[in-house]
């Protein structure tokens, strides 16, 4: 997400590739009704693209701000992070406005009033001015607009803990302590509509911190610390497979006359997303370990055009992320109108092509070594392309 100013020779493009993939998945799962959503990570694992995104955001932030800390000191690096938080905040509010417009449009286009009485409970429809204020305070986060607020708060925590990145043990220890305290106490940030934030930043910061430490670590030392072990890999694979089977048995078994034991389902019912349940954490870390060893660092196929497109998208994290959310609103409108195969293919092809274009424009526009202001408004970036 926070791409380093220039592409360094030691840059691990596998990370960019995976981040590009996660951004694409986020676009897909944020377009409800998109059939491709059945092919994303969330269908086969406890974790989903959000975990991958946060982990890799931490990875990139560790590299970028770690360097800045060493070069310019805490104050400067901290100020840069604060600036980044400002950018994220503005992007979030922009997307919120797009969201409100899209809801209004859909509500007028569809007979929702007759259908779902309950949607009058939609906070924006009921109290628009209050909703606006609550959105500015990040206390009102409509569905699908919950990742950026998480990211903003986690970046704030990161700015405070920045000097600790020289002492990864301390950083991880503190982060784990905060995670444990959060999970035990249930502490979270309040939300206007009831309950806490969709993603509790005080729990999710652990994943980001792990990313930071991994990003800062020497790859050789890291490989020595977590070496390839065939037996362990088989075990990890079996654990992931078992969780995929268990999840799908509970979700889809009844449709085929298969019923999961109550105990198994009761166990799955404890795996919460808001507080980043340990099973979700373990799932993304196991996947990460497997992928890191199964894809060689210099894998030739990553340079083929299609994977390379995802690498590019991953390198331009923020603009591509925001465009993805923006495009998902358009995708929703399209799928509201048409639901056939043609509409599905069109939404996905146009969506992916647009994400790639945004990445391309952003790389060209902001990729001159010096960090110029990156385009916050994805449309503007797209329109800027000749």
């Amino acid at each position: 997400m926070t791409s380093p100013p220039s592409v360094s020779p030691g840059r691990d493009i596998r990370v960019d590739f995976l981040r590009g993939l996660a951004l694409w998945f986020i676009f897909i799962t944020h377009t409800p009704g998109n059939l491709l959503a059945h092919a994303t990570l969330r269908n086969v694992a406890f974790c989903d693209a959000t975990e991958v995104f946060v982990l890799l955001a931490g990875y990139a932030a560790g590299i970028a701000y770690g360097r800045m800390l060493e070069r310019d000191g805490w104050l400067t690096a901290g100020a840069r992070i604060a600036g980044r938080m400002g950018t994220l905040y503005v992007a979030h509010i922009f997307l919120f406005v797009v969201f409100a417009a899209q809801v209004g449009f859909s509500a007028a286009a569809l007979n929702q009033a007759a259908y779902l009485d309950e949607l009058h409970l939609d906070p924006f429809g009921n109290e628009p001015y209050r909703a606006l204020l609550e959105a500015l305070l990040l206390r009102y986060q409509p569905h699908f607009l919950d990742i950026l607020p998480l990211y903003i708060v986690v970046m704030g925590l990161f700015a405070l803990a920045l000097p600790l990145i020289r002492r990864p043990g301390w950083l991880l220890g503190l982060s784990i302590a905060m995670y444990a305290a959060t999970r035990l106490s249930g502490f979270t940030l309040p939300s206007w509509t009831g309950g806490g934030w969709f993603f509790n930043p005080f729990a999710w910061q652990l994943l980001f911190a792990i990313g930071v430490v991994l990003g800062r670590a020497d790859p050789v030392a890291l490989a020595r610390r977590f070496p390839w072990h065939r037996g362990l890999a088989v075990a990890a694979f079996l654990v992931l497979l078992a969780s995929a089977l268990a999840l799908n048995l509970v979700w889809h078994g009844p449709g085929f006359g298969l019923y999961a034991p109550e105990r198994l389902a009761a166990g799955l019912a404890t795996v919460d997303k808001a507080g980043l349940h340990p099973a979700r954490l373990a799932s993304v870390l196991l996947l990460g370990w497997l992928v890191a060893h199964l894809i060689p660092r210099q894998a030739g196929w990553l340079r083929h055009p299609v994977p390379a497109a995802f690498v590019l998208m991953g390198q331009q994290g923020l603009p591509v992320f925001c465009s993805g959310i923006f495009l998902s609103f358009l995708g929703r409108l399209a799928l509201d109108q048409q639901s056939g195969a043609l509409a599905q293919v069109a939404v996905n092809l146009v969506g992916l092509a647009a994400l790639y274009l945004v990445g391309l424009v952003s790389a060209w526009y902001g990729g001159e070594g010096k960090r110029k202001a990156k385009p916050v408004l994805p449309v503007a970036a797209e329109a800027a392309r000749p």
Binding site: Y115, L116, E118, T193, W251, E262, A265, D272, L335
Partner: protein, 257 residues
């Protein structure tokens, strides 16, 4: 006299059950061309046992759709239509149905209602419609699942296997789909059902099928036809639900043997 009548009723009910038993797994065409796989139920021992006696007590709890949902009146809503459709199919067993619901109520509200009314009504079947309000408001999915698990557990403590619980998910709507993370709520309803020994009647999947096959599409109905389409929708839902329940009862028998 009344003993005789009860005896006759019982014998008739027995006959009815044996005819149920003899019925093929799916009776000809599913109601309103609903997708057959959505009408397959797990065994319902409580309903099966009730059908061998004189009456079937059903308790419906839910939010707005139980109370009107754009239909021409209470008699046209799916709960009361279900009562009528079922009564027809299980005669001479009497179907008693009580509806407790209100617009905007959540799973936690429903759990409280069940705790109050469960011991009084002693239902053989609970139909619990939930998830729409949670999804529309973005309430925590885990709390919704906990409410279901807790409520069903308390019921089991009192009623044992004599009460079957069927959860019903939200109505399909493009608007809701586009503006709420419905899939997550549906996933959690499936988990909650599986974790508590309840089952899920997927109104969402059935209605989506009707929309995709241009059978019933309330969101696209012209203003003048809205009430008529809503009535048709609720009637079709009632028929589909009745089939689901009778499928469960039939399996409940096999389950017992």
């Amino acid at each position: 006299m009344s003993v005789m009548r009860a005896f006759a009723k019982r014998t008739l009910a027995g006959l009815l059950l044996s005819s149920l038993w003899a019925m093929p797994a799916r009776a000809a065409e599913p109601a309103c061309d609903a997708p057959a796989e959505a009408l397959e139920a797990a065994p319902m021992a409580g309903v099966f046992a009730a059908l061998a006696h004189t009456d079937l007590r059903i308790l419906v709890v839910g939010s707005a759709s139980t109370q009107g949902g754009g239909t021409s009146g209470p008699a046209a809503t799916w709960p009361l239509r279900l009562q009528a459709v079922l009564a027809e199919k299980v005669r001479p067993v009497a179907v008693q149905l009580e509806v407790f619901g209100a617009r905007g109520t959540t799973a936690a509200d429903h759990a409280r209602i069940l705790a109050e009314q469960g011991p009084r009504v002693r239902p053989h079947l609970i139909i619990w419609q939930l998830g729409t309000v949670e999804a529309a408001r973005g309430l925590p999915v885990e709390e919704m699942a906990e409410a279901v698990q807790g409520a069903v557990e308390r019921l089991r403590a009192i009623r044992g296997e004599r009460t079957d619980v069927v959860l019903m998910d939200p109505q399909f709507s493009r608007f809701l789909r586009g503006n709420a993370d419905v899939e997550s709520y549906r996933d959690w309803l499936r988990v909650a059902a599986a974790a508590s020994g309840a089952q899920l009647f997927s109104r969402w999947a059935i209605m989506r099928h009707w929309v995709e096959t241009d059978r019933i599409d309330l969101e696209r109905a012209p203003r003048a036809r809205r009430v008529a389409v809503a009535d048709e929708l609720h009637d079709c839902l009632a028929h589909a639900l009745a089939e689901f329940i009778l499928d469960g009862a039939q399996r409940g028998r096999r389950h017992r043997r």
